[in-house]
């Protein structure tokens, strides 16, 4: 399978949308994943009637072809989708396009508490605290 075909499949799985890049331009190294799921790619090629036919198809037709392969072998197709999805949604350009920070969670961590939370929580908990025992002896 050619790199062009691989990119076309990746972009059918995860096309761009607005500032979100398509998979082929998200900086992924998907070669190992695609090699591991080679039979699914072969099935897509066969369903299209050859690599050239898949490349010539418009995005809607390509999506239909992937859908058909997904119906004929759901487990294998799902495995490919989830493997590519994990790479794609972990890539810095995609994470940032979704409005999040592309950095390791540590050592910085994150802040979560607003200054007014504690007082409001205490007020609401006061109502719960005032209830009678709700556990059974």
């Amino acid at each position: 399978m050619s790199a062009t075909f691989d990119d076309a499949v990746l972009d059918t799985l995860f096309p761009g949308l607005g500032t979100i890049p398509p998979a082929s331009r998200a900086g992924l190294d998907a070669s190992a994943v695609l090699a591991r799921h080679g039979p699914v790619l072969t099935a897509i090629e066969a369903a299209a009637g050859g690599e050239a036919a898949f490349l010539a198809a418009d995005p809607g037709r390509r999506a239909d072809l992937l859908e058909a392969v997904g119906h004929s072998d759901p487990a294998a197709f799902q495995a490919l989708v989830l493997a590519v999805s994990a790479l794609y949604h972990a890539s810095a350009s995609v994470v940032e396009a979704y409005g999040w920070v592309a950095r390791a969670p540590q050592p910085e961590g994150f802040a979560v508490e607003a200054p007014t939370d504690e007082a409001e929580a205490a007020r609401l908990l006061g109502k719960v605290r005032a209830r009678r025992q709700i556990w059974r002896a």
């Binding site: 999040w100 050592p107 979560v112 508490e113 607003a114 939370d117």
Partner: protein
């Protein structure tokens, strides 16, 4: 192959997870003159190697640091967890665990609730399951001891429980998500309370406060989240306990109705460790696997596997709810519907728990259609704006749900293991009720849309009941002190012992029960 024979010891503990740690930590103090050896198949976690220190950490969440050992093995495995494959093809829930020092406390959420007093008397109160051989009051001192050893963040005064000791740390910060959930429960007039967490909200016992990094279930880099490799094992080892890692126990050796020791495999060869007492604590799958492989013939062994029924409702909000930050499972919970109300059409109850959002890749993997333009649209709608209410129900013991050997030898030298589990009609009714209430709450909290997930297969952390306690050897495997019926010197000290499952996470109760088992053993020998 020749087997090396070692000098005898008083006690061998199989496993180094939560139950083993609580047992050993307590026994080392209660019986300081005893020689205790711990055999752990995995190794110690290197915190500097954990995923949260890497920008691409999300890739590991669904691969080598997945919560499922089967997924980790498929991704090539991860050295500190000496995983074994579990055939879960006939199980509605997939077993999750960590097989190294600390056990599943390495990748748990550290949500740390106690059972309710009624959970120990389900037969008497509601005519289902069985009563435990002891009560909440009997276990309470061991809850207190084990809580102190873990270090708990929480808040006293919860009317859903008998009074508990003041927690040494305030609850983990609720954040926008927790406050939104609190307002939802409040608008309905329902109980809610910040969870008890085995996570530091302040510096405590030499460990730092949580900095809300997010991926608790891939191991805690800073050590703010308690795991027994930090909380229990160092103290036990300081008291003279010997920990041997990379030691896969193949057989508990039994002769003339009493244990003589264990045979285990190391990289250097097989070893026989003679011992007067053998304590098995390998979780509800691993313990049953080893005891079945060792020829223990109790009819209930491996039976009555309980996971907890689990499903969830996801609510999508118009405003930002923090995103994938904070301890996933440690926010707030409701026990408004925990105790039996027969008008609901089932007995026992449900636990509702607000859970925080996951990293983008995990959120994406949860989409109904996880690819194509639709996936982008769905993910843009929910990322940073979603909250899941987890519904957990009390899974009743049923003999047909079980752990069995496959008849083939696995890569680790033990027989292969299989879990067979089907969600009962009772659990389905309870979960459906809970999912309805979760939708009510999310709407009250302001969710603009909800999506119901009736069953959550990858929640199989709670591996319970396969060596259950009881008084009748026909229906139980051990007595109330964890001693296996009919085999002198053989004990169990983990969640396998549970007579029933309650409807909350079992970690706190596993620790308390294992501590009690150790206390009973030391007292019996005194």
């Amino acid at each position: 192959m020749s087997v090396k024979r070692l000098a005898p010891v008083d006690v061998v503990v199989v496993g180094a997870g939560l139950g083993a740690a609580a047992f050993t930590r307590h026994l080392a103090e209660a019986a300081p003159s005893w020689s205790i050896v711990v055999l752990e198949r995995g190794g110690w976690v290197d915190r500097a190697a954990l995923p949260a220190l890497r920008p691409d950490f999300q890739r590991d969440v669904l691969g080598p640091y997945a919560t499922s050992p089967n997924v980790r093995l498929a991704a090539g495995g991860i050295a500190p967890s000496a995983d074994y494959a579990v055939d879960d093809s006939e199980s509605d829930f997939k077993p999750l665990m960590w097989s190294g020092v600390g056990g599943s406390t390495i990748n748990w959420a550290a949500h740390f609730p106690r059972f309710h007093p009624s959970d120990f008397r389900t037969r008497t109160l509601d005519g289902v399951g069985d009563d435990w051989p002891f009560s909440y009051a009997d276990l309470e001192p061991f809850y207190d001891l084990n809580d102190a050893r873990f270090g708990i963040a929480g808040l006293a005064g919860d009317p859903a429980y008998p009074p508990k000791p003041e927690r040494p740390m305030p609850p983990i910060a609720l954040g926008k998500l927790g406050m939104t959930a609190a307002r939802g429960f409040d608008r309905l007039g329902w109980h809610w309370w910040p969870v008890d967490s085995a996570i530091n909200s302040r510096v405590h016992h030499g460990r730092p406060a949580c900095n809300h990094c997010g991926p608790c279930q891939q191991g805690c880099v800073t050590g703010a989240k308690a795991s027994t490799d930090m909380t229990h094992w160092p103290e036990a080892i300081a008291r003279g306990v010997e920990m041997r890692t990379g030691a896969v126990v193949l057989q508990v050796e039994i002769a003339a109705g009493r244990v003589t020791g264990v045979t285990y495999r190391t990289a250097e060869g097989d070893v026989f460790q003679p011992a007067g007492t053998v304590v098995v604590a390998g979780n509800g799958v691993g313990t049953a696997r080893l005891l079945l492989a060792s020829g223990v013939t109790a009819p209930a062994l491996g039976r009555n596997l309980m996971y907890h029924g689990a499903g969830y409702v996801r609510g999508f909000f118009a405003e930002d709810l923090d995103g994938p930050v904070g301890p996933t499972g440690c926010s707030i919970y409701s026990h408004e519907f925990y105790e039996t109300d027969r008008s609901r059409g089932f007995v026992r109850g449900v636990h509702l728990q607000a859970t925080r959002e996951n990293p983008l890749a995990v959120q994406a993997a949860r989409l109904a259609r996880p690819w194509g333009e639709e996936a982008h649209a769905a993910l843009l709608r929910e990322f940073r704006r979603s909250m899941a209410i987890l519904v957990v129900n009390e899974d009743l013991p049923e003999s047909e749900n079980h752990v069995a050997l496959t008849g083939e030898t696995a890569a680790d030298g033990l027989p292969g293991v299989k879990v067979v589990y089907r969600l009962s009609d009772h659990s389905r009714r309870a979960l459906d009720f809970g999912l309805d209430r979760a939708e009510d709450m999310l709407r009250a909290a302001g969710a603009v849309e909800t999506v119901r997930v009736p069953l959550a297969p990858f929640t199989g952390w709670h591996l319970l009941g396969t060596a259950r306690m009881g008084t009748d050897p026909a229906t139980s495997v051990t007595d109330g002190s964890g001693r296996v019926h009919g085999v002198s010197g053989l004990l169990v000290a983990d969640g396998s012992l549970f007579t029933t499952s309650a409807a909350v996470n079992p970690g706190s109760t596993i620790g308390a029960v294992a501590t009690k088992v150790a206390d009973d053993l030391a007292r019996a020998a005194a």
